[in-house]
Symmetry: C2
Subunit: 436 residues, 2 copies
């Protein structure tokens, strides 16, 4: 473990810079990592599960201890607020989530919550003057691991501000009826009622009471580490599209049907996947990513030739023209026959690149510079609650270096030093924003 | 529908030939197709389900109506026996199963049961003299669709006669504890207790009381239809091996991880599958079949690069030397790196070619010739209960033409004429065997 650098407290413009506490951050990391500990260094902490409720209670306990006021809205988002000196000023909120994927790590989401807590704790401890109330916030069910979709409660809260084709996926009634992937029966609405965390709609994040939003998050990729930088000044969330490629063949018996007459949908999909890699890689965009992560095979029995195979195709890039070229290649799969099977390409959804608020991005950049923390601009390839909040409020994000770029898995790791640096950058950026 | 050909009742050696009833076969097909009718022309009739019990009761009702004596063994196999003229003679049994796969057809299994019933009904109706008792039999849980494995109850009954590496998969206790694939809790043993069909172990098929076994089955392939033949004289069940190919990569986030550093297990498996087809097809064996029907993908989420992908590899051929060549290609996948992933090839199981009893095969062949039914020798690519019975008793099979070679699916079809021809061939072959 490297030793935390001593920051230059007096910046070039003689600005007072503040530093968050490494020891307090370490204590939070170790405490929160217990809630949902799956026994292999990571956690499974589904939203509103007993483990998530332990994390929520710990958050409330620690925030009350520094005198923060707790509010909970109707979808269990929690807001802990330290008042500012101006009674009429709107709040500045720092938010992320405390739920995880199955067998996830100890940083995705919860680091943003711990960083927001750390900012408030530092402000309280050092008695840092601020005009605006400062709020640390937990978003409910960002991962959507147990009750899909992901980013459910930022989708609900920001509903009126979202583009129509995104909004339609977050109707309140639909969300309440979202079924558990474990039993396909119990709903998110039932879990919410049972959780004891169903509060009042009037506390929802809104432009009436809130001015800016910040979210600190692990990078979830290897770019910062490879470049030797500690902190990412995030400028946008990449545009993306999500399609399904469906292959239709004929199921026949494994032992009785001659090879030349077969129409094997899995073989068809494999051929198409190799073709996609070959053609897309020819485009030569080094910053393009595409992923085929989810598959469905039918009937998926070792004695049957598959008659249906379906995989997801997710592609992300800042430039919509690049995504158009990729999509053209994906769609060209429909024009070919693959191992005797037909292919159908279906759109699931897409989104344009969401740019963060330029002023807030500059506060983060300046804060990192003045703190002497190695940083760079970076895009977010992943979606975050901040991206929905950005339709409602000026918003930005800060990334913390991820070891080996791993996330959504147990080896996910960011050092306590990097985590504390992230909180420090957010604290000083928030204090700049407090002057607005 | 073509009209049933008139058979040559007097064969070349002046043998009396008998014909089964098309009308009675049609009635049975239409009656049994109702038990588990899934509304799209096929059935779902899991073993010991209410639908399967309806089929069992129909079998018992019809067999009692012609004076057959009913016995049920301890794993619900049912035996309906017409006595012969020799009180000391062993029984000749005709058997198949009445359970189906999910959304299966109206012929797989049940045709063998209906053919056995039809033989007994014809013997009864025409008062055909026979020395040996003749038994129509239902095997329990051949498909293993709800409670794996397939061929469960022939595995139990023939246990002592099976080769060691097959036998170890059919331990009685393990079978009773086999869990439902639907709820992963209720067991086959519980279903057996509840079914009302748990009889006495003393009635199990055994060489002490039974002399020969016949099984009539749909072909489940297009070979007879393509050759213009109605009936297959089956000479063996093909040898086969079953392996799993497992690919190990690294899961990373779909949006945040650069392409060149990815280790995508699904892409790896796709490359390997294309390689396998290319290399195995080069061997040039037109009668070789291989199938990759079952896949597992982890974590199988559209926002994650898969870190694990696993597919089954099932290959079948009469000649073990050909299977060895195929296996060498499969194993060579371990020596390569696929999209940055490692590959592990694991044996699930294999079996040697099982040849039917030569004398019984000749009875079937002669019977088809004398009846003037178009026929040919054929291998069975699929496994059947008869294959386990063959370790215990002289056994053989008769195949009936399948339309388009389809089976284990709702369009599965064999014409009533072909079905009746199958029963007719079995009847006359059994009468030849009755002279032994």
């Amino acid at each position: 473990m490297k030793v935390l650098r001593r920051f230059v407290y007096k910046g070039k413009d003689d600005v007072q810079m503040y530093e968050c506490s490494l020891d307090r951050m370490k204590d939070k990391i170790s405490t929160f990592s217990k809630f949902g500990d799956a026994g292999h260094g990571g956690i499974t902490r589904y939203s509103l599960s007993p483990e998530a409720i332990m994390a929520r209670n710990e958050f409330i306990k620690r925030m009350k201890a520094i005198g923060a006021e707790i509010e909970i809205d109707d979808v269990a988002n929690i807001y802990a607020t330290l008042p500012g000196t101006d009674p009429d000023a709107k709040r500045i909120v720092m938010a992320s989530h405390c739920d995880s994927v199955k067998n996830g790590g100890n940083y995705d989401g919860i680091l943003g919550v711990m960083s927001a807590m750390e900012v408030l704790e530092t402000v309280h401890e050092k008695n840092i003057p601020h005009k605006h109330p400062l709020t640390a916030m937990i978003w409910t069910n960002e991962e959507g691991s147990l009750y899909p979709p992901a980013m459910m409660c930022s989708g609900i809260v920001c509903y009126d501000y979202l583009p129509e084709d995104i909004r339609c996926k977050f109707k309140y009634e639909d969300m309440m009826n979202s079924k558990s992937i474990l039993d396909n029966t119990s709903t998110f609405g039932e879990a919410l009622d049972k959780s004891g965390f169903k509060g009042d709609k009037k506390y929802r994040l809104s432009p009436d009471r809130y001015m800016y939003m910040f979210e600190t998050h692990i990078e979830q990729g290897p770019i910062l580490e490879d470049a030797g930088n500690d902190i990412g000044v995030v400028d946008c969330v990449l545009g993306m599209f999500n399609y399904r490629l469906k292959f239709y063949g004929q199921t026949t018996h494994a032992g009785t049907f001659p090879m030349p007459k077969r129409r094997d949908a899995f073989f068809a999909a494999s051929q198409a996947l190799c073709y996609l890699h070959e053609e897309i890689d020819k485009l030569g965009y080094s910053d393009l990513v595409y992923t085929t992560g989810e598959v469905v095979c039918h009937p998926c029995v070792h004695t049957c030739v598959p008659d249906f195979f379906d995989f997801s195709f997710d592609s992300r890039h800042e430039d919509p023209k690049v995504l158009e070229k990729v999509l053209a290649i994906v769609k060209s799969c429909e024009e070919k026959t693959w191992a005797g099977c037909t292919c159908k390409v279906e759109k699931a959804w897409n989104r344009d690149t969401v740019y963060w608020d330029k002023k807030l991005v500059s506060y983060v950049k300046t804060s990192a510079e003045e703190c002497g923390i190695k940083h760079q601009y970076i895009h977010s390839g992943a979606g975050h609650d901040a991206q929905f909040a950005a339709y409602m409020l000026p918003t930005t994000m800060i990334f913390v270096q991820s070891k080996d770029g791993l996330s959504h898995c147990e080896p996910e790791y960011s050092s306590p030093e990097h985590c504390t640096e992230g909180a420090t950058v957010m604290l000083n950026a928030v204090l700049k924003a407090d002057n607005d």
